[in-house]
Every structure is written in C-alpha cells, then in structure tokens.
Symmetry: C2
Subunit: 329 residues, 2 copies
C-alpha cells in the first residue's frame, strides 16, 4: 500500500471518532491544506544531554491544543485546584501539549524513537526533521527508528510527502501486537469508512519499510541497550523503552502521560485518544509507581519539552520534577 500524503490527510480529516481521532486533529488537519503554504516558520528546538554512554537529544515537533472536552472525567473545579499557583492555564477550554521525538546515539547506532507528525497536523507541528538537522543529523544518518505505537503524531514523519521512506537507511522496530492491530483486516472492516484514517496512516507509514521491519513481542531486547516495556491501553501495543546507558537507565515512556499539567496529579484522567481507558490507567499507575520507587529518569513524547525528569509521589498521586537544561550524568 502506498498512499500519498494528500489522500492520508483527506482520510484523516474525515475521522470524527472518540477513541481514535479528535476534533483537535480534525482542526489541525483541516488547517494544513489552506495554511501550509503561508505558515510561519516553526521554532526549531532540540536539546542534547548525556547519560553515561548515551547521547540523547530531545527533538520538538511542535505543540497541539488539547480540548478539555477530550479528557475523560474532566472536572473544571478539580482542574483549577490542580493548576492553582502553577504556570499552567486552560484557555478557551484548551491546553497546549508538545509532541517530542528522541534521538539516541550510543555504540555506533543513531536511533530515532518516534518520528513526529510531518505535515499531518498542519503548520503548528512538523518541526522534528528541522530539529534533527539542527542537532547535526540527517534522516539518511538514522540507522534505526523505534516506535512506541502507530498513532499519527508518532509516525507521520516516517514517510515523505510522496509516500516513500523518510529514513532510507533505517530499519524500523515496532511491537508485533501494535503492528498486527492496525493491520488487522477484520478490525479494519468493522471500522466505519470515515474512521479509517488512523489505520490508513499506520499502514502507509510502515509500508515502505516492509523489507526492514523488525518486530518484537512483550518485554524484549529490541536492540543493543534498549528493552521494550509494554504499556498497553493507549493503543493495544503501546510501549515504552528502557535505555541502558551504563550510568542510570532512562525510560522513554511514549504516551504514558499526555498532560504534564494534569495527569501526574490526576492519573485517572484519560484522553479520547486512549483506546482502553481502564487499561491505560492501570499501565500508567503501575509505571508511575515503579518510576517513583526506582527514581527512574524518564522522558515522554508529550511531556513538556525537553521532557527529561523524574516522577515523585505527591499524596495519592504524583508530580513531575523536570531536569534543568544542563543536566547530564
């Protein structure tokens, strides 16, 4: 299957599904045709830090707006109490959330973990490739792309505008269960026509890598120094990755948390994007608890850029302690 970017966008723009797409994506996608040409240049932001033998670079793709109507269980009074005294604000029922990817350089491998949105979300996102280049690497130099799950803001950047591989020399590592779900024709057949955009994008994004696709199952060493950590719920095969660095391990946890502002304090609040909310909360609280107990260094694809920090316990819930810019270990 090779779909052009244009057909993917039109497919995505037609998706009104709770649990898969959202008004935010719809709006961002509907922006793209009209506004891409006149888009202001996105700020370029990357941030490198060293942990043991690994050089990690956070790559900012951009920010999207989450509407509080997309938060399951959202309560304005509780949200106000959580945000009081902080820098976070809900404005016109919206909050700004980043999309990050992470470059890992270790032992000769140049690994990208998640690939950003490219142009799938319009001009307010899609900065990851420019950030990668500003950090001194080209798409051609990437040896491996590891993906946490097959949602469009994580894999949009896998393919170029013409549907070909954006990383011509990279192998792609993806969970078998995640791959299977989005490629399951029975599931696809049961999804209404207008909801198939996510499936089409998932399929089209990995298709050009068919001859260099490496799958793993459950908890596995997916490459040297990188072990998968299944965190199902957000999607069936959603997972994080534990990076061994020789100093301290770094957990790159994908979409375990979408809102730094709200979900550490209220881990039971899920998003319309979380396909199985109960399993999402279960994976989240188990992982947050472990991260706090072990004092793990963590990063995530929607943690406030650059995303490096640690989880702390705060009463019955949690808090995020972000590392200062100059932190290295």
């Amino acid at each position: 299957m090779t779909l052009s970017r244009r057909s993917l966008l039109s497919g995505l723009a037609a998706v009104p599904v709770a649990g898969l797409a959202s008004p935010t994506i719809l709006r961002a996608a509907s922006h793209s045709a009209a506004e891409t040409a006149a888009a202001p240049t996105l700020p370029v932001a990357y941030h490198s830090f060293q942990i043991g033998s690994a050089k990690i670079t956070a790559l900012l793709d951009g920010h999207f707006l989450l509407n509080t109507g997309q938060i399951n269980g959202f309560d304005q009074v509780q949200a106000d109490a959580t945000l009081e005294g902080s820098f976070y604000r809900i404005k016109d029922s919206e909050m700004s959330l980043p999309v990050n990817g992470y470059l890992v350089e270790q032992g000769g491998a140049v690994t990208l973990i998640d690939a950003g949105t490219a142009d799938l979300f319009g001009p307010i996102l899609g900065g990851l490739e420019a950030a990668l280049r500003a950090a001194g690497k080209t798409p051609e130099e990437i040896t491996t792309v590891v993906v946490t799950h097959l949602h469009p803001d994580h894999i949009g950047g896998l393919i170029a505008g013409d549907g070909t591989a954006r990383f011509p020399n990279a192998e792609i590592i993806v969970g078998q269960g995640e791959y299977d779900f989005w490629h399951d024709d029975a599931v696809y057949a049961g999804v209404p026509q207008e909801n198939r955009g996510f499936f089409d994008i998932a399929r089209a994004s990995v298709a050009p890598y068919a001859d260099r696709l490496k799958m793993f199952e459950g908890e596995a060493d997916v490459m040297t120094g990188l072990r998968s950590v299944p965190l199902p719920g957000h999607t069936p095969g959603h997972c994080g990755f534990m990076l061994e660095t020789g100093a301290a391990p770094l957990l790159i946890w994908g979409d375990l948390i979408h809102s730094t502002a709200l979900q550490f304090a209220r881990p039971n609040w899920t998003l319309a994007f979380d396909m199985d909310p109960e399993q999402t909360v279960n994976s989240r609280t188990r992982m947050l608890d472990r991260a706090a107990s072990e004092g793990l260094l963590v990063t995530g694809m929607h943690l406030d850029f650059p995303g490096l920090g640690r989880v702390e316990r705060d009463g019955d819930a949690y808090a995020f302690d972000q590392a200062p810019w100059q932190f290295s270990l």
Copy 2:
C-alpha cells in the same frame, strides 16, 4: 580605545583577582587560543515566548563551570542538604551555570538585553549569536542593546573579533554609574596591572558605540516599555529591567542569582564575582522578596535556560518555579 580580541584575551588571562575574575574565567580564556579552531559546534538553543505585546526569546550563550571555591560562605554539608533529591550535583567541586541573553521584540524595537561572551570564554560559550540567527534575527536587525552591567560574559558579544561594533545599527543603553566605574581612570590606576582585563574589556566593548551610547541613572524609563531596576552589589551599577507587556510585567534581573540550584535556598551565598557581597545580598533579598510578593515573572542571565519562572517563598529562603516550555501569556 580599540583593542583587538587577542589583546583583550591576553589581558583577561592575566587576571587572578578575587572579586573581579576567577580561575574559571582564567581557565576558559586559556582554552580559547589553543582550542577554538578544533572546537566542536556548540548546541544552538533559543526559546521564544509571548507575554502580552512582547515576544521574548531566550538565547543560550553556553555554560561555564563554577567552582565551589568561588562561593563565599560555601559549606559542603549545607550544599548537600540543599541539593538532596534534586537533579543538581556538584562534581569535582564544580557546577554548570548558563549564560543567557534575551531578545525582546515589541513595538517595532528589536532589543537585545546583554550580548553574551563571544569568544572571551573559549569554545564552551559564545553561542548567543548563532542562537539569535537561528531565531531569525541578524545582528544588523538589532535596534537597541541594553546591558545589565559591564562584565565580560554580558558584553563580550558587543564587539567583533576586530574590535568593531557587532551590532552596527544598534544604540547601546547602559547605566551611567556602571559606565563611570569601569571608565574611572583613578580606579583603573589603583588596580594592579594584571587585574585590568575586566576594565579593558568593559571599555573596549562600548567604545565603538560612543556616538550612540545612551545612559540612564537609577530607576528610569530607558526605552518604551522598559524601566531600569537598580540592583547594585554584583557591580556598582548592576541593574535589572522591568518590561511592560500589557499582560504581566517581566523582570529581567541580570545577575541577581548565579546558581539556580543553590542561591534561592541560600541567598546569603555570594560569588567571588560579586564586588560588594553585603550589598549584593541586600539587593538580592529585597528583590526576591518583592518578586515573590508580587508573583513577578522573572528571567535572568544565569538562571537555568531558558530562565523564565517565578520566585516562591520557602521558609526563610526562596525557591524557583520554572515555566514550562509552552508557557505564554
């Protein structure tokens, strides 16, 4: 007076003065001749945020290493207690501190507040101009440079390698008292020959702007929307600037704090760079107290990049609450 960069560096390298220079500067300066050619590319980091009608861009010049021996009153046990559980570490008696400059775009003015080190501190600093360019502005587009004080890490970037003005179209705004101190021939005559590097740099950096130098005294409207806030002690004329934005004021406080890690918690700890330690502490505690009381937004030239945050009270001392990357107001 026009000094070449080379003669400035040799002057600086000769300065062993507590209260003016430091072993760190010596070491950084001594690096530069040998290592500049082979220096790795500095990471480029800038971060823009909007506050009301002002677009502010933090520009990272780089990081230098502060030796704890340069901290007046430093106590390892107290430091360990302050840093416990945080990301901050003292390694081989050193801590990494940033140098930031701030670009302010408002009402047609393109204002740079402090100009970074250029090549005065060797290859680990000097990134400000690249950050400025990455943010979309050239030195030629700067209409005004405002300086908090005339230390080399704030004004090194004012001049090019040949001693000419790096900002050919900018007027320079500097405090009269600060200017006078570094240009006082009686003071200069009393300073040992080997300690005159700072004076030579201060003089040489503003000299090319002699015909477009604007001075102010005390608390004054130095340009539209920007008011000086005297904070003497670090240098005789050291000051911050209060930016009026129409939303909330932003205090750009220069060197009120050098170590985000230590000095909010221990505001009585001064550095060897602070010329009058008692006055430094007095200015600091008064300003921190006001910032906490008023909930002021603040940035600073040595606050952890990008430096935007607020001051909170923490018992008898203070803490810093850093704004998330996506914060705008």
